[in-house]
Every structure is written in structure tokens, then in C-alpha cells.
């Protein structure tokens, strides 16, 4: 007997479009854990990516000549297909979680770094002039003027990074039996693709992304009420 089909109802054994009973029976051993793993993969990748981009962006902010090289590397990185990037890392880090996370972090950098830089640069010259005229030191200008003004662009980047990472993390299942991509790969390897598993895991992945997207929009409205839509 095929493991994923199990000894299910006629709906499951007949491989109908969607069987709620399979979802109920396998929430605890398949879908729930996959969802949690997916969130972990995403949170770790975005967290590390955020820290690295912040550092790189600050460096590029003070040393302008760094910006273009970092930007070009980041853009080229984005053109690398995720599956290929994971495979290229295997000689160094093996079939591990580390490989998956390095790949995911790399993609968040591509999105977060340009947004950080654009944000830091979005302070109008006369505002900076006024801050300097008030006697603020360089550090105070950064902390009290440039960083708050960078927030809308940073938030916009964060939103895109989170949603994209959730999507790319499904590919991680090719390397590690983690995340929502894994039940989908298993369902595809059945003699006939098992529909319920595909649609349940797929819906969870899309749903997770949409919920995170909405949360980011809400958070942005709360944090930067002055920034209108479309500004960043």
C-alpha cells in the first residue's frame, strides 16, 4: 500500500480532488509539522538576511563605491535558479539544513539590500541639512533622521522578502525532507499524483504567504503611518 494514501476512505483511495478526512487524519503527522518547518525555514532565512543586508547597506551608505559591486553581485545571484544554487552548495555544506538556509538567505539579500540602500538614501537633502544645522552628529543623523525615514522602504523590502522566501522554501524539499514542499514531492512520486496532498500543502503554502503579506501591510501601517502607499 502506498503510504500517503493510507487505508483511507473511498475518497482517498479513489484519489478524488480533495478529501477533508485525509487532511484531518494527517494534520498531526504530515501537514502541521511541515507548516511549522516552513515557518522556521523562512523566519531564520529572513532574520539572517535582514541582519546581513542592514550591515552591507550601512557599509554602502558610507562607502558609496561599495554599492554598485554589491548590487551587481546581488542581482546576478537572483538569476541563479534555486534548485541549482542548492546543488552548487552541496560540495561545501552537504545535504543539510545549512545548505538550504544559505540558499534562502542569499535570495533575501537580493531583495533586502537594494531596499535598505534606497531607504537610507530617501532622506531629502534639506531635511539632512536641517538636522546638521541643529547640531546633530553624524550618528544622531543616522539614528534619528535617516533610519526612521528608511523604514517605509525597508518594510516594503521585508514584505517581498518574506513572501518570496515562503515560495522558494518549497524547493528546499528537494534537499531536505522539510517544509511544505516535501508532502508535494511525495504526492508527485506516487504512481498517480495524490491530489489531496498536493492541494492541501499547496494551499497552506499560498495561504501562509498571503497571511504574512497582510501582516506586513498591517505592521507597516502601524509603524509608518506617514508613508503613503506606493511611496517606497
Amino acid at each position: 500500500m502506498i503510504p500517503s494514501f493510507g487505508q483511507g476512505s473511498s475518497c482517498v483511495t479513489g484519489n478524488h480532488v480533495f478529501c477533508w478526512d485525509w487532511v484531518r487524519d494527517h494534520w498531526h503527522d504530515t501537514l502541521g509539522p511541515a507548516l511549522v518547518q516552513h515557518l522556521e525555514l523562512t523566519a531564520i532565512a529572513v532574520g539572517i538576511g535582514f541582519a546581513i543586508s542592514a550591515g552591507l547597506a550601512l557599509a554602502a551608505h558610507y562607502l558609496r563605491m561599495l554599492e554598485q559591486p554589491i548590487g551587481i553581485v546581488a542581482t546576478l545571484l537572483y538569476t541563479i535558479p534555486s534548485l541549482a544554487l542548492f546543488q552548487l552548495l552541496i560540495p561545501f555544506t552537504g545535504l543539510t539544513w545549512t545548505t538550504v538556509e544559505i540558499g534562502l538567505v542569499a535570495y533575501t539579500l537580493v531583495i533586502l539590500f537594494p531596499n535598505f540602500v534606497a531607504g537610507l538614501r530617501s532622506a531629502p537633502p534639506d531635511v539632512l541639512e536641517a538636522a546638521r544645522g541643529m547640531g546633530l552628529t553624524r550618528q544622531q543623523v543616522l539614528l534619528r533622521v535617516e533610519l526612521p525615514l528608511a523604514l517605509p522602504a525597508v518594510m516594503a523590502g521585508l514584505r517581498i522578502a518574506i513572501v518570496s522566501t515562503i515560495a522558494i522554501a518549497t524547493i528546499a524539499a528537494y534537499l531536505q525532507p522539510d517544509g511544505l514542499g516535501y508532502p508535494i514531492l511525495l504526492a508527485l512520486q506516487e504512481p498517480t499524483p495524490f491530489k489531496t496532498e498536493i492541494y492541501a500543502a499547496g494551499a497552506l503554502a499560498v495561504g501562509l504567504a498571503l497571511v504574512c503579506d497582510a501582516l506586513c501591510v498591517g505592521l507597516r501601517r502601524a509603524l509608518v503611518p506617514w508613508a503613503r502607499k506606493g511611496l517606497a
Binding site: T79, P91, F92, V110, P114, G157, I184, L188, D213
Partner: protein
């Protein structure tokens, strides 16, 4: 599964694999390009006219924005898997999935590009007695070309890169080698990955070149700079 010991030498072996199998890699590359071109063609045929017309009418911004959010939220693996029970394993399933994937950026950018064309310029054209079609063809489209093309570039690179995953559903391409480590060993997998990487980088650079070429000279200084910021325009 990981029978080969993986280290720096893997890359040496990978290049050796590339050198020893030019025919195989060329065939797979052509398969991948065919699949991508077909998918992109369908997406362009559907999304480009729709986006341009909606942008001209300044209607349906919800559709364009929703398209961009959904486009990002839909994982390619989910798309390929979702159509599989209905379209079967092979070219068709992958083509449809990749076409859906490409529709998002093309539609959003086409709408956005035409929608944000300077209203004064459009009014002036209307005052001069141009018909709506003339306004679209002679005022809005030339001004919108850079942004429209940016959307097409993003879609094209995304599709070529994602087509690698098509192998899981019998779509062929270089992914066939990447997902078959048992057959090609790690050196083959890494070699094919290098080829995929080169292919998408090449497509990206080619499109950047074309983008500069199709941009009206007067717009080059301003718009190309903004667009080179890359994928995310909103």
C-alpha cells in the same frame, strides 16, 4: 544517495562532465529554452494586451496589484503540481504552470507603465485630436516601453530559472540531470547546475541589452536607471 564524497574536486569533476557531455547538455538546454519560450509566449499574448488596455482605461488596478501579490505568493512547485493531475506529466503541464508564473510581472508592469504615463501628455494628445488608439500607440506606449520591458525581463528570467524544476513533472530540460543524481552522480548534477546558472545569467544580460535598445533615447537617462534596481518595482 550521496555516494560521492563532496568537496572542491566536485567542481573539477563537474567541468569534466561538461566537457565530456556537450551533446547531452546542449539537448537539455534547448529543451529548457523551448519550454520557457512557449510559456513566456502564452503569458505575453494574454497579459500584455490586458495590462496595456486596463492601464489606458486606468481601470482594474486591483487586478494588477492582486496579480503581483498572488504571483509572488504562488510557489512554482505548487503550480506545477497543481496542474499535473489534470494535464498529465510532460510539456503541457509545465508550460501552463510557467505561463501562469510569468503572467504576474508582465501584467502588473504593463498596467503600471501605461497607467502612470503623464496625464498632461495624454490630455495634450487628446486636445490635438488624436483618437484613443493613436494616443495609445504614439504617446502612451513609447513612454511605457521601458517599464513594460522590465516586466517582460523579470518574467523571462523567472521562467528560464524555474523551468529547471519542470524535470519533476517530465518537462525535460537541464533539471533532468539535476534531479537524477543516481544517474549522473554529483559531478553531473553540479555541472548541469552550472549550465543552468550560465543560461539564466545569459538571458538576464541579453534582456538588459535589449531593454536599453528599445528604450526611446530621450528616456534612457532617467528610466533605465530606476528599472535597473531590478525585480521589484512596487
Amino acid at each position: 544517495m550521496l555516494a560521492d564524497t563532496a568537496n572542491w574536486h566536485t567542481f573539477v569533476d563537474a567541468f569534466r562532465f561538461i566537457g565530456n557531455n556537450p551533446g547531452l547538455l546542449a539537448t537539455k538546454t534547448v529543451e529548457q529554452i523551448e519550454l520557457s519560450a512557449a510559456a513566456l509566449g502564452i503569458a505575453l499574448a494574454v497579459a500584455l494586451p490586458l495590462g496595456v488596455v486596463l492601464g489606458h482605461l486606468h481601470r482594474g488596478s486591483g487586478l494588477a496589484i492582486g496579480g503581483s501579490i498572488f504571483g509572488r505568493a504562488l510557489p512554482s512547485l505548487v503550480l506545477i503540481a497543481a496542474f499535473l493531475p489534470w494535464l498529465g506529466i510532460g510539456f503541457l503541464d509545465n508550460m501552463v504552470a510557467l505561463a501562469v508564473l510569468a503572467t504576474g510581472p508582465v501584467l502588473t508592469n504593463a498596467f503600471d507603465a501605461v497607467d502612470r504615463v503623464d496625464r498632461d501628455a495624454v490630455e495634450a494628445a487628446r486636445g490635438m485630436g488624436m483618437t484613443e488608439l493613436q494616443i495609445l500607440r504614439r504617446v502612451e506606449l513609447p513612454l511605457a516601453v521601458p517599464l513594460i520591458f522590465a516586466g517582460i525581463s523579470v518574467a523571462a528570467v523567472t521562467v528560464v530559472a524555474t523551468a529547471t524544476i519542470a524535470a519533476i513533472a517530465g518537462g525535460g530540460g537541464l533539471g533532468d540531470i539535476i534531479v537524477n543524481q543516481a544517474g549522473y552522480r554529483l559531478s553531473g548534477v553540479v555541472g548541469a547546475s552550472l549550465c543552468v546558472m550560465a543560461l539564466s545569467a545569459l538571458v538576464f544580460l541579453l534582456l538588459r541589452f535589449v531593454q536599453v535598445a528599445v528604450t526611446p533615447r530621450a528616456l534612457r537617462e532617467t528610466t533605465v536607471g530606476q528599472i535597473s534596481a531590478g525585480k521589484e518595482l512596487r
